[in-house]
Symmetry: C2
Subunit: 425 residues, 2 copies
């Protein structure tokens, strides 16, 4: 079953690379219209999923994520319409060189091939991911949360049919329904080119340990703000509070505040007051405990993603110590410095080994939509391929096209001809 789906996806992907932009956009428009037309079918499938989930005593938080009503439907349809407006990520000439007269090389973006995507309970993810795959001409195998199985089946069916009618190859999208199929998928490195897991860190690590297929993964967001000497105290407080409190449950919220000893005396009491007003529990190192009223922080705190109104605080003696702390305990996601020194900011942004390195602004800006990418596949803490907020360009790679007039290597090896290597892009 899964082998059939994967093999069909591979065959579809072998045809999709040459889909014209208009065909892909027409298919996306057809999907948007079909979803709107089938609203009542989608919502009744979702109500059935919710009823089952309630009967299974699934937590209200999960049920809230599972819910797919008219508002959510409109929001994914709006998302598809914006996706149509984005430039085609396939077929971009990234580089071009004339190797010799009549021998022209170009490096051109192309789809990756077949994506395997495993996501959590939210059914909107199915719509987003399948349409991102279509725009980038990738075939896709999808596995959603089991609580949303009914909703996902209806959504996948509507999307698949609309796309096929618009001329997208059969098999471009496959829906997996069991955990066993996910395990089976991890072994199919001949058919699947990239796995994108969306879920807990433990889940992402499990995937990485059990497949030879490359994984576009996301680890914890243990983000830091470092308040340097010299810094503007008002700005420091504003950025720190926004980084922690604007939306504490997400991966780009601050978990640890680092503060230079020489500004701590003045700033820490004011920070404690600001965080107190926002109901944040503070956990400080010994120096911090001597300056403000807070709970003690342990080494474990430095390595913890609270995702909650809890903040660890450490007083450091230098910029270097702050950078070392971040490179030791951080997760390579997003880290910010507040400083008046351009030199310190430059060192921080070069030496902190994170996907997003910020100066005088909130960690919460690390997001594909805020960055203007137009669409977000996810936030990657990988060190290869794609890092930080990943837009459509994370779903493409490139190939080298070389066009000649009967050119052969023997002529260059013998010295009869020689390369000119003239950049033409």
């Amino acid at each position: 079953m899964i082998l059939d789906l994967a093999s069909q996806a591979r065959q579809a992907s072998n045809l999709m690379a040459s889909l014209p932009t208009e065909r892909k956009n027409q298919a996306l428009e057809a999907i948007a219209k079909a979803l709107a037309r089938e609203e009542s079918q989608i919502i009744s499938a979702n109500l059935a999923d919710i009823k089952n989930a309630q009967a299974d005593q699934i937590s209200p938080v999960l049920i809230k994520r599972l819910k797919f009503d008219g508002v959510k439907l409109q929001s994914v349809i709006d998302g598809i319409r914006s996706l149509i407006q984005l430039p085609d990520p396939v077929g971009k000439v990234l580089d071009a060189t004339e190797l010799d007269s009549g021998l022209n090389l170009s490096k051109v973006s192309c789809p990756i091939g077949v994506l395997g995507i495993v996501f959590e309970s939210r059914p909107d993810a199915l719509v987003q991911i399948s349409t991102l795959a279509l725009k980038s001409a990738n075939a896709v195998l999808l596995k959603g949360g089991s609580e949303a199985a009914g909703t996902n089946r209806v959504l996948a069916d509507i999307i698949n049919r609309a796309a096929l009618e618009a001329g997208i190859p059969v098999g471009w999208m496959g829906l997996l329904e069991s955990r066993e199929e996910v395990s089976a998928m991890l072994a199919l490195d001949e058919f699947i080119d990239l796995i994108i897991p969306r879920g807990s860190n433990a889940f992402v690590k499990y995937i990485m340990d059990n497949t030879r297929i490359p994984v576009l993964g996301h680890a914890d967001g243990i983000c830091h703000v470092y308040l340097d000497d010299p810094c503007d105290p008002e700005m420091a407080i504003r950025v720190a509070v926004d980084s922690k409190c604007q939306y504490p449950a997400v991966c780009n919220a601050m978990e640890t505040l680092l503060i230079h000893r020489s500004v701590a005396v003045d700033l820490l009491p004011r920070l404690a007051e600001a965080f107190g007003a926002n109901h944040v529990e503070l956990r400080g190192d010994e120096v911090c405990q001597a300056m403000i009223d807070c709970n003690p922080a342990t080494n474990e705190d430095w390595a913890t993603e609270y995702n909650d109104l809890v903040l660890s605080i450490r007083v450091v003696d230098s910029l270097d110590e702050a950078i070392r702390h971040i490179n030791t305990y951080g997760s390579g996601h997003t880290d910010a410095i507040v400083t008046r020194s351009e030199d310190h900011a430059g060192q921080f942004m070069s030496l902190v080994d994170s996907a997003n390195v910020f100066w005088n602004c909130s960690t919460r800006f690390a997001d594909g939509f805020r960055y203007g990418l137009g669409a977000e596949v996810g936030i990657s803490t990988n060190k290869i391929h794609a890092r930080g907020p990943v837009g459509l360009e994370g779903l493409v790679i490139y190939k080298w096209r070389l066009a000649g007039e009967g050119h052969i290597v023997a002529d260059y090896a013998s010295g009869k001809k020689s390369f000119i290597h003239r950049k033409t892009s």
Copy 2:
């Protein structure tokens, strides 16, 4: 031991990201000078390795690869001098956007971090790879072939000392000496960001199966040339012969020739003559066997990298059939079409899912130096990060730098401010 080396490499890498271009180039120049100065030490270590290899009855082919004489030394020194001339791959602004007034985002290239490289008997690889790592500001752990252990130890020592004296951080380069250390290295995903194996396919697959660390790998080179209808017969023969015979032992040499039925009648006998003159054994499908004198080809032949003067030939009925054959049996390395039809060439280059897709030229052009990349890390058949001949840019990734003036997300969430997303690069 390996843990110490890996941990030191990680620490060094955390400092290397901010190395100025001049410092790196000075270190490279110091390495080139030190290698020239220590020529006699290097050559005597190599002679000892060769003596041991001969005593161990190692094959003459391997001993030839192991040999590191004055000519090879001069060639790696010349390589370092060219590397110095190349632009710094670190610190390039790949993209820049003004998110709002005073809030500026840039996507800037940076080193990957720590590379783990396992290579075969040639000691020149140690010099090439360590200097490529230095230029791209990556720390590196290296493991060479055990036959070359003595030469590698001397080379690594000279390179390491010259670099340290020129101000490169301690620990930037570590030499592993046993197979056990390679196995241990595969588990160190906290310290190592990318593994680059150079060796047999079985070896590369073994690495991929035994590590969570991303692998920049290279699979077989089962390369094809497809002679289309219509094509120029002289050009077809010239390109086919060069692709097979110019250097048959390498991964970008042709292994299978596909030919359209309607041009086969005229072309196959002429091809048989040309390949015969080059001592190539031909293995054809049934149609081919009826047209020329050749051995029978089996399905196994379509999936075999001969690396030798053997060629399988299949007659096909259409462009589509040729593309399907290549996507089924090929290795995604390099495939060429010879055709007079621009439309056929376009379809072939879009739909053949290979790193290098060529029109009217030899497969043997797939090479970093011929492409003008200036340096070659290897040829990748990966579908993410880097594909085809990989130059220095395959050893870097990027980070997102955001500089503000105290900007916070709450202002955008509340609607008080809005993003402008103006491209500035």
